[in-house]
C-alpha cells in the first residue's frame, strides 16, 4: 500500500468553533486514519460540532480542515460529493416513501436518475429495509429511521461516511444489527468511516482507531489496540471504608500514582503502574488502614482509556 493511501482521510489543524460566546471546539489538532475511526466523548464534548464543521455547516473561527485531501473552506462541494452524512437527529424529506427518498438523495449527490433508483433499492436491502421500502418514511419506527438515514448516506457510494450517533433510539437487537452493518462497511467493504458516539462498546466493536474528545478538545487518539496496551496492571477493587472517607482515600491513591475510577457497579478500576501490581495495592491499603474486600486482575478496556483521557473520577 502506498503512503498516499495511508494518509489520513481527515485532518484538523488548530480548529476552533464557537456558538456565540460558547466555545465548542478549542484549538483542535488531530487526524482520522483510513478505515473505521471512532469519535468518542461524553455529550457536549464537541463531536457533532466537529462533524458539522467538516461538512461546512459551521465555519471555524480559526484553523484549517482537510477531508480526503481537499480543503474544507475551498472545496466544500467536492468534499460533500464524496462523503455520506448520517445526522444524529431524525431527518428525512417529507412526503416521500423510502425508495423515492433514497433515490432522490442519490440524484442530489450527482447520480443519474436511473442509477440512483437502482442504488436506492440495493442499499435499502443492505440496511434491512427492503420489505418496507415503499412505505412513507414518516410511518417508520425510530430504528427504521436510523437505517434509512444510513441508506441515504450510502446511496451515492461515498469514500467517507460520517455517522453521528447511529445507534440512538434503537432497541438492543436493532443496535447490534446497525453495528454489524457499520463494522461490515469499515472492515469488509473498504469504506472509510467516522463513527461519532458516546457509547464505548459501539466504538470498540466497530472501529480500529479512536479519537477521544472532552470539553471541546481531543484528549486521546490512536489505534484502539495500542491505547489499550497496559502501562501497568488493571484491577477491579472494592474496599471497606467508613462513609465519607472514600474520596480522601481515592485522592491519596491518585497522589501515589495509581489511577482509579468508579464504575457502575460498586467496584473501582485501578491502574497500577510498574511491576508491583497487587502487592502495591495491598501495601497502600494496609498503610491507610483500609480493608480490601475484592481484588481481581482485569484486562484494559476502551473504558479505561476513556476514563483516563477525560480524567473521570
Amino acid at each position: 500500500m502506498s503512503d498516499v493511501s495511508l494518509s489520513p482521510v481527515v485532518t484538523l489543524e488548530d480548529v476552533s468553533v464557537a456558538y456565540g460566546r460558547h466555545p465548542a471546539l478549542r484549538s483542535v489538532t488531530t487526524s482520522f486514519a483510513v478505515g473505521a475511526v471512532g469519535l468518542l466523548g461524553p455529550n457536549g464534548a464537541g463531536k457533532s460540532t466537529m462533524l458539522k464543521a467538516l461538512l461546512g455547516f459551521l465555519v471555524p473561527q480559526r484553523g484549517r480542515m482537510r477531508v480526503l485531501g481537499l480543503d474544507v473552506a475551498a472545496s466544500p462541494l467536492e468534499i460533500r460529493a464524496r462523503i455520506g452524512y448520517m445526522p444524529e437527529s431524525d431527518a428525512h424529506i417529507p412526503g416521500m416513501n423510502a425508495v423515492s427518498f433514497v433515490a432522490y438523495c442519490g440524484e442530489l449527490a450527482g447520480l443519474p436518475r436511473v442509477d440512483a433508483m437502482q442504488r436506492a433499492h440495493e442499499v435499502l436491502y443492505y440496511v434491512g429495509l427492503g420489505e418496507a421500502r415503499y412505505r412513507n418514511v414518516e410511518t417508520y419506527s425510530a430504528g427504521m429511521k436510523q437505517r434509512i438515514k444510513l441508506a441515504q448516506a450510502l446511496v451515492h457510494d461515498p469514500d467517507l461516511l460520517f455517522l453521528d450517533e447511529p445507534t440512538n433510539g434503537m432497541d438492543p437487537k436493532g443496535r447490534d444489527e446497525m453495528l454489524d452493518l457499520i463494522r461490515d462497511l469499515g472492515h469488509n467493504k473498504g469504506m472509510n468511516l467516522v463513527l461519532s458516539s458516546h457509547l464505548l462498546p459501539d466504538v470498540e466493536f466497530a472501529c480500529d482507531h479512536v479519537v477521544v474528545m472532552d470539553k471541546g478538545s481531543v484528549v486521546a487518539a490512536g489505534p484502539i489496540a495500542a491505547l489499550k496496551q497496559p502501562r501497568g496492571q488493571v484491577f477491579e477493587l472494592r474496599v471497606k471504608i467508613a462513609v465519607g472517607e472514600l474520596d480522601g482515600f481515592l485522592d491519596r491513591l491518585r497522589a501515589a500514582g495509581i489511577e482509579c475510577y468508579a464504575t457502575d457497579d460498586d467496584v473501582m478500576r485501578a491502574l497500577v503502574p510498574g511491576e508491583g501490581g497487587a502487592r502495591d495495592l495491598f501495601a497502600f491499603a494496609a498503610a491507610e488502614h483500609v480493608q480490601v474486600r475484592h481484588l481481581r486482575p482485569s484486562v484494559p478496556t476502551l473504558e479505561d482509556v476513556f476514563a483516563k483521557a477525560v480524567g473521570e473520577k
Partner: protein, 279 residues
C-alpha cells in the same frame, strides 16, 4: 438464501455534473405536486377563466353577433387580474410547506450534506413555486393569445398589439417571482406549513384592509404602496399601458417590490442553513 447478493456494492457508474442540484429539487417537487389530486383540481379551476375566454374568442371569430366581445389589450390585463385570486390560493397551497416541511423533518441537513449550495436549495424551491404559478398566469395568457390568432385565422390582432407578449411575460414573471420569494421567506420562518399559510393570508388581507381604511380616512389612494397586491396591480397597469388605478406613482410600487425581494433574500440567507445557530 438470496438468489443474488444483496450486500453493499460499490458504484462504478457515471456521476452528473455539479450545479444542477436546483433542477433535481425542482423536478422532484413538481412531480410530487402533479401526483396530488388537490393540486390538479386547483390547476383546473385556475384554468376555468381561460376556458371561458377561449369560448369568447371562438364566438367572436365565428359569430358576427358576438363582435361586441372582441378582445382588446385590456382583455388580457383583466384576465391576469382575475388570475390573482388563483395565484393567492396556489401560493398558499404549493408554497407554504416548501421550506417549513423541510425544517419540520430536519431535511435541510440532508440537503446541505449533499453537493448543493444554499442557493441551489433556494432556487430549486423557488423554481417549484414559480412554475406552479406561471401555470396559472403566463401559460394560460399566452395560450389565449395563440388561440385568438388560431380562431381568427390571422395574426392581425397579435401584430397590432405585439407588446402584449412582453407585457404578459414581464408582469407574470414579476408577480410570480415576488409572491414566490415572499412565501419562501415566510416558509423558512416556521416548521408549520399551516402557520405559514395563515401568516401569508393575514399579511395580504391585513395590508389590503389597512389600505382600505386609510383610503376611507384620507379619501386618497396614494398610500396603496402599503399593500403587495396593490403594488403588483399598479405595476401591471403600467406594464400593460392602461390607466393607473391608484394615485401612487408606479416607481414607488416598484421600489416596494424590490424592497420585499431584498427582505425575502435576507430572511432566506439567514434561515436556510445546515445548522440552526441561536445566539
Amino acid at each position: 438464501m438470496p438468489i443474488h447478493d444483496q450486500g453493499y456494492r460499490r458504484y462504478g457508474g457515471a456521476r452528473g455534473r455539479r450545479g444542477h442540484g436546483w433542477a433535481v429539487i425542482a423536478a422532484a417537487g413538481l412531480r410530487t405536486f402533479f401526483a396530488r389530486r388537490i393540486f390538479l383540481g386547483l390547476l383546473l379551476m385556475a384554468w376555468l377563466p381561460a376556458i371561458v375566454r377561449a369560448v369568447q374568442f371562438y364566438a367572436v371569430a365565428n359569430f358576427p353577433q358576438a363582435s361586441v366581445l372582441a378582445p382588446t389589450p385590456d382583455t388580457f390585463r383583466q384576465f391576469l387580474d382575475q388570475q390573482t385570486n388563483f395565484v393567492f390560493f396556489m401560493t398558499v397551497y404549493a408554497g407554504a410547506g416548501l421550506i417549513a416541511n423541510d425544517r419540520r423533518a430536519n431535511a435541510l441537513q440532508i440537503y446541505l450534506s449533499k453537493p448543493l449550495t444554499r442557493s441551489d436549495y433556494v432556487f430549486g424551491k423557488l423554481a417549484i413555486l414559480t412554475t406552479c404559478l406561471l401555470m396559472v398566469t403566463w401559460v394560460p395568457a399566452m395560450a389565449l393569445l395563440a388561440l385568438q390568432a388560431a380562431f381568427a385565422g390571422n395574426v392581425t390582432f397579435l401584430r397590432g398589439h405585439i407588446y402584449l407578449i412582453p407585457a404578459i411575460t414581464v408582469f407574470s414573471t414579476l408577480q410570480v417571482v415576488t409572491v414566490s420569494a415572499a412565501m419562501l421567506a415566510l416558509s423558512s420562518l416556521s416548521k408549520s406549513s399551516r402557520y405559514v399559510a395563515l401568516l401569508y393570508a393575514a399579511l395580504v388581507f391585513f395590508s389590503v384592509a389597512l389600505f382600505g381604511v386609510l383610503r376611507f380616512v384620507t379619501r386618497d389612494t396614494s398610500l396603496s404602496w402599503i399593500s403587495l397586491p396593490n403594488d403588483l396591480a399598479q405595476l401591471g397597469d403600467a406594464i400593460f399601458r392602461v390607466p393607473l388605478r391608484f394615485a401612487t406613482p408606479w416607481p414607488v410600487a416598484l421600489m416596494m417590490i424590490v424592497a420585499l425581494l431584498v427582505a425575502s433574500g435576507l430572511v432566506l440567507e439567514r434561515r436556510v442553513r445546515g445548522v440552526e445557530v441561536v445566539g
